[in-house]
């Protein structure tokens, strides 16, 4: 296949498989913690950081990291006001940040790269980009492995978790930090908007198909990598945008999983909002 002969495509393929596997595993936890909203928000809120990095010619990774940190700090501060509530705090912060990013990006003096920031540039993956994605992906995977039991206790039983030696607040914060790392890793290849598809879709499919927690994580990782592969091949064959093809492939795999295993009736006592139900299937 032609895809294996071009160095450009080889790098893109490696990048997207790494990202797919990482985001898939992380996504399972985010869906179980019900942090899909936080995931989306954090990804979007880094836009000003990306734009500023583009403006001053700094690496995107640096801008993304700065943007995430500022956004996370703003959300944490805003959410402290109990009258406002966490969701409103996130909504306000993210909309502000996204708007600010757009204003900066559309200013006449700025080179027109907004599209790339939002949708990534998979085929533009350089070797340093690839190394960075691999390192960040390994970091996320290691952290998830090391924290597996703590995450399990914190998600399953946050009330009793402290008496089991686990601090659920810290664990959720750590999970959001890992999300920030994953989004930073993915922004070059998939962009600020499309990265969400790789975090949510393979994880939703994995949760549908897997019986055990480990099974779900392995499946989600595999499906994420597969979505990357299929999307990239489709984009090369059909000559369509790479990042978008990957996102669509991930969604298509989820739809197949949902058809193969329709949603089980919810066990009594589990409450989900309609938005969550849509998000996690």
């Amino acid at each position: 296949m032609e895809i294996l002969r071009s160095g450009l495509l080889q790098r893109a393929l490696l990048e997207v498989v790494i990202l797919g596997a990482t985001c898939g595993a992380l996504g399972v936890w985010l869906l179980h913690v019900r942090s899909t909203y936080a995931a989306e928000s954090l990804a979007h809120a880094m836009l000003p950081g990306l734009v500023i990095a583009t403006l001053v010619g700094a690496p995107l990774l640096l801008g993304a990291a700065g943007g995430v940190l500022v956004a996370a700090a703003l959300i944490a501060v805003a959410a402290r006001d109990t009258r406002v509530g966490a969701e409103v705090a996130v909504g306000v912060t993210v909309t502000t940040a996204f708007g600010l990013g757009a204003v900066l990006a559309l200013a006449p003096a700025v080179p027109a790269r907004l599209g790339e920031l939002l949708f990534g540039d998979l085929l533009g993956t350089s070797t340093p980009d690839l190394v960075a994605a691999a390192a960040l992906g390994a970091l996320v995977a290691l952290a998830l492995g090391a924290g597996h039991r703590s995450l399990t206790a914190a998600v399953f039983d946050p009330v009793a978790a402290p008496s089991l030696g686990v601090r659920p607040g810290r664990i959720e914060l750590a999970l959001l930090a890992l999300l920030a790392v994953a989004v930073v890793a993915a922004v070059q290849g998939l962009g600020n908007l499309l990265v969400l598809a790789l975090i949510v879709a393979p994880a939703s499919a994995g949760i549908r198909l897997g019986a055990s927690l480990r099974g779900q994580i392995v499946l989600a990782s595999g499906l994420g990598a597969l979505a990357g592969l299929l999307g990239l091949v489709a984009s090369a064959e059909l000559d369509i945008a790479a990042g978008a093809s990957v996102a669509l492939a991930a969604i298509a795999l989820y739809v197949l999983a949902a058809l193969a295993r329709p949603a089980a009736p919810r066990p009594p006592g589990s409450r989900r909002s309609p938005v969550e139900a849509l998000g996690s299937g």
Binding site: R149, S150, F156, A160, S163, L164, G165
Partner: protein, 254 residues
Amino acid sequence: MSAAIEVAGLSATYGPGAIALCDVTFTATEGQAVAVLGPNGGGKTTLFRALLGELPATTGSVSVRGATAYVPQTERSRLDFPVSALDVALMGAYARTPWYRRIGAGDRALAREALQRVGLADRASERFGALSGGQRQRVLIARALVQDAGVLLLDEPFAGVDRTSEEAIMRILDELRAEGRVLLIATHDVDQARRWDRVLCLRGSQVAFGPPAETLTNAVLEGTYGEEIVVLDCGHRAVAVQHHAHSHSHSHSH
């Protein structure tokens, strides 16, 4: 096992301006079960958190001898989370297993033993959320056994539990008592409270503490529940608590 709880003049709060619980004084010695009776918001959970060391005492002192386990209401845990009964029992070994180690064979055997004790050996690989309310409660008690807890804090262990499971849980709790463990059993069911060695009545502050027969007088119950109480006229009293997830009223016609 020499477990014991000693609480003297305890006040604890979640934050400035919000006194959650004050003036609690009681003791529980080896092998005693204490019912903690009170309305929702009466301070049962606050007391448990103070005993677990998660909430510092603003005044007074708390001393707990023996490892302490919290047994939550099963409805509070995530029922759609893919963990088996054995997985949940194994959580009792988390605190003593470093993150870089697998859970040891000894602890796995302990978890299976604990499930056996609560009569669920054959359901070990079943998903926790697929078990009945009473079975889930027993799995959570098994987890406390794996923690090797001398002190068990049980939050409404009989809420939403069918008659058979209730009897099974009663039997297990009696066994644990016989082994010298200390049990605190939060409940808003007066009849339930009568079964145990001591009863502690809470409504923001301590209303009464002592053996149930002497303690559970009409005056104490009215002090504990205020207008929420319905006193029936046949020697039995019934409590109807409003605004609760498992609110139920008992009526007795004998």
